[in-house]
Symmetry: C2
Subunit: 297 residues, 2 copies
Amino acid sequence: MTQSFADLDWSLVQTFLAVAETGSLSAAARVLGVSQPTLGRKVREIEAALGAELFMRHAKGLALSETGAAMLGPAQAMREAAGRLALMAAGEDRRLTGPVRITASVVVSHFVLPPVLTRLRREEPGIEIDLVASDSSENLLFREADIAIRMYRPGQLDVVTRHVTDLGMGIYAATGYLDRVGRPADVDGLLALDWVGFDRNEMILRGMAEAGWRVGRDFFKLRTDDQAAYWQLVRAGGGVGIMQQAIGAAEQLVERLVPELPLPSLPVWLTAHETVRRMPRVARVWEALVAAFGALS
Amino acid sequence: MTQSFADLDWSLVQTFLAVAETGSLSAAARVLGVSQPTLGRKVREIEAALGAELFMRHAKGLALSETGAAMLGPAQAMREAAGRLALMAAGEDRRLTGPVRITASVVVSHFVLPPVLTRLRREEPGIEIDLVASDSSENLLFREADIAIRMYRPGQLDVVTRHVTDLGMGIYAATGYLDRVGRPADVDGLLALDWVGFDRNEMILRGMAEAGWRVGRDFFKLRTDDQAAYWQLVRAGGGVGIMQQAIGAAEQLVERLVPELPLPSLPVWLTAHETVRRMPRVARVWEALVAAFGALS
DNA sequence: ATTGTGTCATTCAATATTGAATAGCACACC
DNA sequence: GGTGTGCTATTCAATATTGAATGACACAAT
């Protein structure tokens, strides 16, 4: 029997939102931690319940229909309310055990956090960590992450921020690349080399401007906003790039260029909603991150 | 593994709301159409997921804790958003088959609608009807009902209203009661009898005021706001009461008193959200109700 | 034309969830 | 004290749901 509108299962709306935002059942399944056939059934279920086609099926995923697009507003309003609800409950949660979700940039996730979190897991086996490697800004207000590690000071309301370190930066190029083009003796020689940069992300442009180098986007002949891909391009000899000293130093395939050149360092901020920050297990992870980043200075 | 806050199953919030508003697992189970053990498990599940105690258990049900009370706001915001979402989808639903939810007062539900809905079921077997007998005002904005039958013109925004009939009212008393106290010859004799009235509901007081009878709440020696109980009290000889003529006429155990006395009639309004009203199966039920109430005039 | 990739839809064994039945409790009524 | 009522918590057979495996499809790359 078809259920009434008033009886719509709200978890179906959750499913709808995930599929709408990822663009496919498979991707949404990965995000939600369920299987693709399960999501397929749930999408059909909400479409049947509402008597409306919310998605148009394609070989490479699902696109929102007009109806589906119209529903995004209220669906996102539900998520906002659900996040507020979770925040209220967080104030009551005194458990030291349970999950903590951390979001950090791809590079920090790959190179900085693994040893930190591994040690924390040994010290606090009751705390489970979800690490979300993402260069986008998660919304802490809605409990999409408990702690965010950022390279800028977030300006969101009601969040606690703490400056934990400044990451020293260095200029690197692959040994193979340098063997081929020669090692520059000065800044002019350095700037004449091929450079790897970001695409739309202006962080490097701003950093170079701060160092007094007026360059434009086309100065970089290889561009990507994916930070992991960025470093792989540099490692592979794609050109000169900028990376954290701790990461560059650990890499055998690259050489640091012109080490005496002062570069602006990269500030690292921990961020959390103040209610969430007070939860015992989040506070414990926060302390561990403060100590770990402090040791990097 | 304890799930993360971000992964909270929204149907658990739905459960929380139903239990919070009904005050017990058993009552909420009846409302939601699931079993009491199922709701018991789901309440424990959301409490575990949020790491907070939302309810205080009692022998006669569950009372909200402070945390639970604080969560009502965002939970109700979710329901509001879910209702808006359902309304948007309703505009797309062109099916003539499926469920339609009607809410009407207890008396109309008991005495007027059964033959109407029975005939409609024969004519449109693809339409399923949920009849909610309730004297409270459902919220049509949130799709808590598709069509409401009311004795007053609703003032809600975006709803379509239609005045379908005026119900003639009459004064009745049980034959047994009248045999015992005598049949009044005039209005003074009538007012000297015992009367059955409402408790907090002022509808009868207002009706009598309109008829020029200034009486107070204590004029009624038997009082209930439950309209079915009201009529049963009159039928059982509890005193004089006012009822729709169609209902009074069909009842063998009562007699109409002072038929020449003009009473204000009771207007009947059909109400539906305008988007919902356009859905084919809701439009069909609306037509059937218009025709049925029209035949009562 | 062939191959590889990522997608959705289907099947069915495995797993999870549900609800009937029941126990136990608190309270009101007699 | 005994009985009736309405509640929550527990057990376990019945039922529903899930996901592994698979087929089919569209598209890009070769």
